[in-house]
Structure formats: C-alpha cells, structure tokens
C-alpha cells in the first residue's frame, strides 16, 4: 500500500467511524422496529459493531493518533451510510445493512489487507481478519432470518441493490483530517 502511518491511521479511524455509526444505527432502529425477532437480531449485532469499533480504536492509538479515534468518512460515503440508516421498514433496515452495505464494507476490509504490508502492519491485519470472521457469522444470521420471520418482506424490493450500488460508486471513502474537522465544526 505504501502509506504513511498517518494515512493508515486515517483508514483505521474511518473504519472505526463506520463501526460506531452502525452500532448507533442499530441502536436507533431497535425501539422503532415492531417485530421482536428483528429487535433482538439488531440488538445482538450492536455488540459486534461495538467490539469492532473498540479493536480499531485501540489500533488508532498505536498509529500515533488518539486511542478510540474516529475519522468521519468522505462526504459521498457518509451519504451512503445516512441513506441506509434512514430506512423505516424492518426488512429495508435489515437487508439494506446486510445485503447492501456490508458486502461493500467487507470488500474494503479485504482490499486493505491485500494492499498493506502484512508483516509491517500485522496488528491492523489481525483486527480486520477478526472482523471478517465475525462478518461470516453475521451473514449466517441474516441468511437464517427469513425462516424465523417468513412473513416479513421488502416493501421496496430494489432497496438493498440501490444501497450496494451507491456504496460501490464511492471509491474514496477516507476524508482528509482537515476536511473532517471543518465538517464537524460546521455541523
């Protein structure tokens, strides 16, 4: 990858931002989702994304940035996250996250691993591999959900594909620290 420590920290900090965002999104959905099985599905995954954020946040501290430091993603990718989080239907929420956003996030983690020096950047690689290991379980949980609640279907059948396409279109997901600071100040 040939990136500086700071550039690596920016990527890891961005991954942490995304994990915290997903943790909070699931938490926000829980009280407004009627179906018990969906509530507990979201509830169990809150802890997964919290753990991912925690591992990544420990790593930012090792990469000469503060511990548990997050970097807001580039504007385009942030809009993808916000669009996905704005879903109101139960299956739009569940499938928007699992079928729309997470495959793209997984691809970004794999891309990081493929491009970095696995020896030099081994601690980051191990964290991402642990996250990818969790993603397999989350994917299995998602695949099992229709059998638990076969009555729940997408009202908007194209929603997950649109989220996936939006995410794929945003090749640059890491913003510069200065831009992120300016955005935070403005908001």
């Amino acid at each position: 990858m040939g990136e500086t420590i700071r550039q690596k920290a920016d990527r890891v900090g961005t991954f942490r931002y995304i994990s915290v965002f997903l943790m909070e999104t699931l938490a926000r959905w829980i009280p407004t989702t009627p179906e018990l099985e969906a509530k507990v599905f979201f509830g169990r995954q809150v802890w997964d994304f919290a753990q991912h954020a925690d591992w990544l946040g420990r790593r930012t501290g090792e990469l000469r940035s503060p511990m548990q430091w997050s970097l807001q993603p580039a504007d385009g990718y942030l809009r993808v996250l916000q669009t996905m989080a704005g879903a109101t239907g139960t299956m739009e929420r569940l499938a928007g996250l699992h079928d729309g956003l997470m495959p793209d996030l997984e691809a970004r983690y794999r891309d990081y691993i493929a491009r970095t020096d696995r020896l030099n950047d081994e601690p980051t690689v191990r964290i991402l591999e642990r996250i990818l290991f969790d993603f397999e379980r989350l994917r299995a949980d998602r695949a099992a959900f229709p059998a638990i609640r076969p009555d729940l279907t997408l009202a908007d059948a194209g929603w997950p594909a649109r989220i996936a396409a939006m995410a794929r279109a945003e090749t640059d997901y890491v913003s510069s620290r200065a831009a992120a600071r300016a955005a935070a100040t403005a908001s």
């Binding site: 009280p31 179906e35 995954q45 809150v46």
Partner: protein, 269 residues
C-alpha cells in the same frame, strides 16, 4: 424531567414517554390493573411470567439502546458496557420466547406494559437513567430472579430455573457497571449525585401514583393484598456481587422488611 425528542402519554395523571414499537399481536396496557398475572405457579401463570419477563427484557434492550443513541459523548468504556447490555438483553428476550413456546405459549398471549421505558426515557441525563434502569429496576430484577429461580425449581422445572440463573448472572454485571460508573462520576463531580437523587425521587413519585393499591383487582381477577405489594426478598449475595455497598444492601433489606434469600438456598443451584 423532560423528554424533548419523544412523544409522551399520560397515565393516571403521570406523563411518561410513549410506548416503543410493538407488533400488532401484543396488547399494550398502561397499568398493573390491566395486566393478567396469577400469584401461583399454575401452567397459565408460568406462561404469563415468561411472557411478562420477555417483554421486560425487550424494554431493557430498548432503554440501553436509547442510552447509546442519546449520549454519544459518554465515555467509550461505558458505551461498550451499554452495547454489551443491549446484546445480553436481546439474548434474554430470545431465550424467554423460546421457553415460552416450549411451554405452549405464544407472543401476545397476555397483555404487556412498558412502564420502565416510559419512566426511564423521561430522564434527560445518563446518571439519572442508569440510576433508575440499572441500579433500581435491574437491581430489583436481581431480587426477583433470585426468588423465581428457586420457585421454578420447587415446581420441578429446572430448565426454566437454569435459564433464569443465566439471566441473573448477566443482570449482576449490568448493575455492577452502572454502580461503578455512577460512583466514579459522582466522585469526579458531586453535582452528578444530584442528578441521581432527582431521578430516584422522580421514580418514587411516579410509583406512588401508579402502584396498585391493596384491594384492587387485576385483569385476571387477582386481588392485590398487602403481602403481594411487598418488595421481593432481597438477594443479598448477588447485590453484593453487583457492588452495592453494605449500607445500600441494609437499606434495601429494611425496605423489604428484612426478608432475604439465604445464600445457602442459591448456592445449591
């Protein structure tokens, strides 16, 4: 007290946050009098106990989740504990639903109430919410689970007793992290103690207005007696494990008329 972001409802003159989303199969009621519960351990009583507990765990998921959403600037350690609590309570609700179905029950079979959500979400600060939800409601659940685990064993249902034993162990950790965090923030800034005290006082005022009175009858025809209104026996061992101080345990014992679960009863389980 204020809940600016939430819709509210008024129950017997008390303003509470409106109910979280529930499926149409559930009948959501507002008072204990509208609930169905039976003091014995008959089959229908067992199902109702599991059903009510399942909804209470669902409420606990929702409250902890809202704490994550409403207080993004809380310390990361505390947010991790809240996230873990969300997952734990989700597991509990799933376990109770599974057991309910095994005992031929189903979702929506009995009315449910979301009192804890309605009260806790009225509080606009995290010390207050943790004082009410974790240190009061969940600590009360430690006492109830200690008693109920023993009652299920007495009627020969060890599977449910084991399930409750597992939930009890988790609840101890939820109360403990809240105790530790409240202790820390009140030491750092004594003004936080005022938030805790105001929250507990508010809860007391709400309970005084909404608790069932002796002689009232619930939807199952069961009458509230002085004995039924007593708090459950105090689970001293687990309250200590949750890091309540000896003074706090003594105060709860006094309120419960010094009734306690003997450690020897729980130790064999």
């Amino acid at each position: 007290m204020s809940a600016p972001a939430d819709r509210t409802k008024t129950v017997n003159g008390v303003v509470l946050v409106a109910d979280p989303a529930r499926e149409p199969c559930f009948t959501v009621v507002q008072t204990d009098a509208e609930l169905q519960d039976w003091p014995d351990m008959s089959e229908i009583s067992r199902r109702e106990r599991l059903h009510r507990h399942m909804n209470n765990e669902t409420g606990a998921i929702e409250i902890a989740a809202r704490c994550l959403v409403d207080f993004p600037d809380a310390s990361w350690d505390l947010r991790m504990s809240l996230a873990r609590q969300v997952a734990d309570e989700s597991r509990h609700a799933s376990l109770l639903l599974r057991r309910l179905k095994e005992l031929d029950g189903e979702k929506g079979q009995f009315p449910v109430a979301n009192f804890e959500w309605g009260v806790t979400l009225m509080l606009d600060n995290l010390p207050g919410r943790l004082a009410v939800q974790n240190r009061t409601f969940e600590a009360g659940l430690i006492d109830i689970l200690g008693t109920m685990r023993n009652r299920w064993r007495e009627v020969g249902d060890h599977e449910t007793a084991d399930l409750l034993e597992g939930i009890l162990a988790d609840e101890v950790t939820h109360v403990r992290f809240a105790n530790r965090w409240i202790k820390r923030i009140t030491e750092e800034d004594p003004r936080n103690l005022l938030k805790v005290a105001m929250a507990v006082r508010y809860l007391g005022q709400v309970l005084a207005r909404l608790e069932p009175k002796v002689g009232e009858t619930n939807a199952a025809g069961s009458t509230w007696t002085e004995e039924r209104r007593l708090p459950p026996a105090v689970n001293i061992e687990d309250r200590r494990a949750a890091e309540f101080t000896e003074e706090e345990v003594a105060e709860v014992l006094r309120q419960a008329g010094f009734r306690s679960i003997l450690p020897s009863l729980a130790a064999g389980n």
